[in-house]
């Protein structure tokens, strides 16, 4: 692949990976764990994420943009790395497939109660495979189109201008909160996806300004989370939000157009686009790591095997709650990866640099 990602596309890509089905439920988590004005928690979490991105920026800077796998392989023998890569790709593949399954199960819940969700899952996996075979550059192109197809949905929030009441926000902050630490982690998961920028190094050049793009994408996501949170708290009220399962979907359902209502049905379909990018990028990341172990096998074959394996595993969890638990556990792994991995890489780079100097 010759073309490098451009800054704009990278920002959109990061935004699209971060956007997933979490958009529909995060306000409930905010209300459940943080109580009044729970939407404010998005701000500190977003800052924390930015700091983490800054940490990754140092990896990029110290390593002069070389691939993180290259950095690892320079100092650590391959037989140690191989199982590590395997674990990484398993985690990523699992996240990818569970995100898709979650999406499908939610859709099944309100539109197709009698259909076997795995049929949809297989169809989405086929789409993901087709997109994967086109390479990262084309994935970023597709994600830009999907971005334009979905971003205008934000303007639907204007519909609620009339229903917004500041009284519902209440003057208290985080009153009636409960187990804030766990809530904090759960909210953090809403931002996950940005850590994949670690793998984008070889696909960018100086012109991309990768980390400016990552921060822009992340900020866009943060702003959109914060606005959606504010609107939800101001329109629905926190006590009501607590008991709703997918508050954003209910908000959409409230909108009535002259010739169409209950548009959440249609627009939830649009979120297939963002979910698709999320899962494709996680599968892509899994492929990036397995190709290090099996450089001889064609990449498309690897993607196929990864998607097939993930598909088989995704048969196991059958209810949304199980998937949530699984995603939570995998998400904790992922949070760990996003903090520890750059740290290890920075240390390795410093060590490599010193060795070179000697």
């Amino acid at each position: 692949m010759n073309e490098k990602l451009s800054q704009f596309h990278t920002a959109i890509l990061i935004y699209m990976i971060q956007t997933g089905v979490y958009v529909f439920s995060f306000t409930q988590i905010e209300a459940k764990y943080f109580g009044t004005n729970g939407w404010l928690v998005m701000i500190p979490v977003s800052i924390l994420v930015s700091l983490n991105i800054y940490e990754m920026y140092w990896v990029y800077r110290l390593g002069n943009g070389q691939s993180i796998f290259d950095i690892l392989e320079k100092s650590i023998p391959k037989f140690i790395l191989a199982p590590f890569y395997m674990i990484l790709s398993t985690i990523w593949a699992l996240i990818g497939c569970l995100v898709a399954k979650q999406y499908v199960l939610i859709f099944q819940m309100f539109a197709f109660p009698t259909t076997n969700p795995m049929v949809f899952k297989i169809a989405i996996d086929i789409l993901a495979f087709i997109l994967l075979t086109k390479g990262l550059y084309n994935i970023s192109k597709a994600s830009t189109i999907f971005f334009w197809c979905t971003i205008w949905l934000s303007f639907l929030l204007l519909y609620f201008v009339g229903d917004f009441r500041t009284e519902r926000l209440t003057p208290y902050i985080f009153k009636e909160s409960y187990n804030m630490t766990e809530g904090f982690f759960q909210i953090y998961l809403a931002y996950m996806g940005y850590e994949l920028c670690l793998l984008l190094f070889p696909y960018t050049d100086k012109k991309t300004r990768l980390f400016r793009a990552v921060i822009h994408g992340h900020l866009l996501r943060s702003v959109s989370y914060i606005i959606l949170g504010l609107v939800s708290f101001g329109v629905v009220g926190y006590d009501m939000l607590k008991v709703m399962m997918f508050p954003s979907l209910d908000l959409l359902a409230y909108i009535k157009l002259p010739f169409m209502e209950r548009i959440e049905n249609l627009f939830y379909g649009f979120f297939l686009f963002t979910t698709l990018i999320t899962l494709v990028l996680y599968f892509w990341a899994a492929g990036e790591s397995t190709r290090r172990i099996f450089p001889k096998i064609k990449l498309n074959v690897q993607y196929f095997v990864i998607i097939l394996a993930a598909l088989l595993i995704s048969y196991i969890p059958t209810v949304l709650d199980t998937i949530r638990e699984w995603i939570l556990i995998l998400g904790y792994f992922q949070i760990g990866f996003s903090y520890i991995m750059p740290l290890i890489l920075i240390l390795l780079l410093l060590w490599q640099r010193r060795k070179k100097a000697v």
């Binding site: 451009s6 704009f8 596309h9 859709f107 539109a111 197709f112 259909t115 949809f120 169809a123 989405i124 789409l127 087709i130 997109l131 086109k134 084309n138 994935i139 970023s140 192109k141 597709a142 830009t144 189109i145 999907f146 334009w148 197809c149 009535k256 157009l257 002259p258 010739f259 169409m260 209502e261 209950r262 548009i263 049905n265 249609l266 939830y268 379909g269 649009f270 297939l272 686009f273 698709l276 450089p295 001889k296 096998i297 064609k298 990449l299 074959v301």
Partner: protein
């Protein structure tokens, strides 16, 4: 190939890069060009034996032999202007070798090709000369039937490449307009002309187009639309990756904007490249109208695209799975009109879409007078009888008809045909899985489009790669003073096209 090797080629990375085709060494190629069979009268006559339309005239006293096809050359000119000086001269060879209009050929193959392309061959003292007395047969320049517009020039290309070239030259009067002649088809040897404006067009694209055309190995190419399928980036795609048009003014604007243009002898269509998906939705009309009207028309076209792709599919999705999406007052109308219909929505929709397509295809094949009858019969059958018989619902007919009309709003016929076909897929997906199926179908279109390229440049420019500057000319049509630069996709050598201040 053994099974093992086959499996290896499927699963394993191919280390050996064999991209470059085996080329002959240079000196060998040259030998082929200059060598070949020496030209003799007998050899040429042998080549054309059993050709009743082949003319061989002998002038014994002057030792002259003239060979040509009577219908390809202008015999008047030959008899009146060319032959008398030769016949009256003391030594015709001197005239033949002196004057540049007589071209000497030594290669028999070249001579045969010349005669076939409409030249006359003159043999004198064992030497052969070709003279260009081509008499092109073609219809006159007429109005385009597939791309008619209201405001602006009405001329369209004809089947004769020379006429087309002159139409273009008249519009782009610049010595920088270059024309390269190539030939395509092992049997037919049809001429293809590649046009570009030097110093604006990017050499990389020019080379790429020429290379691809040279690499075509096929017995015959009959039309530009066939030619572009031989040089597409992705031959399996449903979308055309070259823009085709019959309008000289469109082609002139493409040339000036830095694109490469190709015309083919025998085809009234010209192609231009590189192209992007959104270019298929603009028409030269937009630029001849006031800018605000042009912009509004562009919006209308993109709205038409959305309608033609989704409307019927949405109807199927809603009536099959998502009745809750219909507002209460509309629900009564909808149920009432659907109450008598015995089929599920998907069958109903496919039936009607099929009928519309049948009507369209029948109308396209029939002469205009009978075509009108088809329209009336079809209109009554679809509009009245099908509903009264209880086969379909009124609302479906509205949706099918409006999506059919919308599909004809797309100015490029090839593109609108592609979307009409896609529509069937979407209807089936919507019938199977409702809104989710619809979303999947749309996602597939986007995925497919994002993988496409035109001459190696992205098919989705200016959306991806993101070129906000181009949006002024693609999604809007701002006043000309705002359109200062040439499109980014063509990577023009000279980027600025407008320097006036107002």
């Amino acid at each position: 190939m053994g099974i093992k090797q086959k499996l290896q080629s499927i699963f394993l990375v191919n280390d050996e890069q064999s991209d470059t085709p085996p080329t002959l060494p240079d000196n060998q190629q040259e030998a082929n060009l200059t060598g070949g069979e020496p030209v003799t009268l007998q050899h040429i006559l042998d080549q054309f034996d059993d050709s009743a339309d082949f003319i061989h005239k002998t002038y014994q006293s002057e030792h002259l032999d003239v060979l040509y096809f009577s219908h390809l050359v202008n015999e008047d000119r030959l008899e009146r202007d060319v032959l008398p000086p030769l016949l009256n001269a003391e030594s015709p060879v001197d005239i033949l070798s002196e004057q540049s209009k007589y071209v000497r050929v030594t290669n028999a193959k070249k001579c045969v090709e010349g005669i076939l392309s409409g030249m006359a061959a003159i043999f004198c003292q064992e030497q052969a000369y070709l003279i260009d007395v081509i008499f092109p047969v073609s219809r006159t320049v007429a109005e385009s039937e597939t791309e008619s517009i209201i405001v602006g020039p009405h001329e369209a290309f004809t089947e004769q490449a020379y006429t087309n070239l002159s139409l273009i030259r008249k519009r782009v009067q610049s010595s920088h307009l270059k024309v390269i002649q190539l030939s395509v088809g092992e049997v037919t040897k049809t001429s293809v002309y590649i046009l570009y404006v030097e110093d604006i067009a990017n050499e990389k694209y020019i080379k790429e187009v020429i290379n691809r055309i040279k690499n075509i190995e096929i017995d015959a190419v009959h039309d530009t639309n066939m030619l572009i399928q031989c040089i597409d980036d992705d031959p399996y795609s449903i979308f055309a990756q070259f823009l085709t048009t019959e309008r000289p003014d469109t082609i002139a604007s493409k040339l000036v904007s830095g694109r490469i243009v190709g015309i083919m002898d025998g085809s009234p269509t010209a192609f231009s490249a590189p192209v992007n998906f959104f270019e298929f939705f603009s028409s030269s009309d937009d630029y001849y109208q006031r800018w605000s009207i042009g912009t509004a028309t562009l919006f209308l076209r993109f709205a038409a695209l959305i309608i033609t792709v989704t409307l019927t599919a949405l109807y199927v999705a809603v009536t099959s799975f998502h009745y809750e999406m219909v507002p209460q007052n509309l629900l009564l109308t909808l149920t009432e009109s659907r109450s008598k219909v015995p089929f599920p929505p998907i069958i109903e929709a496919l039936l009607m879409e099929m009928t519309i397509e049948l009507l369209r295809e029948a109308g396209a094949r029939l002469p205009t007078k009978i075509g009108q009858t088809i329209g009336i019969v079809g209109g009554i059958v679809i509009g009245q009888a099908a509903v009264q018989a209880g086969l379909t619902s009124n609302i479906l007919i509205i949706s099918v008809a409006s999506s059919a009309i919308a599909s004809f709003v797309i100015p490029n016929y090839v593109m609108s045909a592609a979307f009409r076909l896609f529509r069937f897929g979407l209807i089936i997906m919507a019938g199977l899985w409702g809104n989710l199926g619809l979303a999947m179908g749309l996602a597939y279109i986007v995925i497919h489009l994002s993988g496409l390229t035109s001459l190696g440049s992205s098919y989705l420019t200016p959306v991806a790669p993101f070129e906000p500057y181009d949006w002024k000319d693609v999604f809007l049509r701002l006043p000309f003073s705002k359109l200062v630069k040439r499109p980014t996709q063509v990577k023009a050598n000279n980027k600025v096209k407008l320097k006036m201040k107002r």
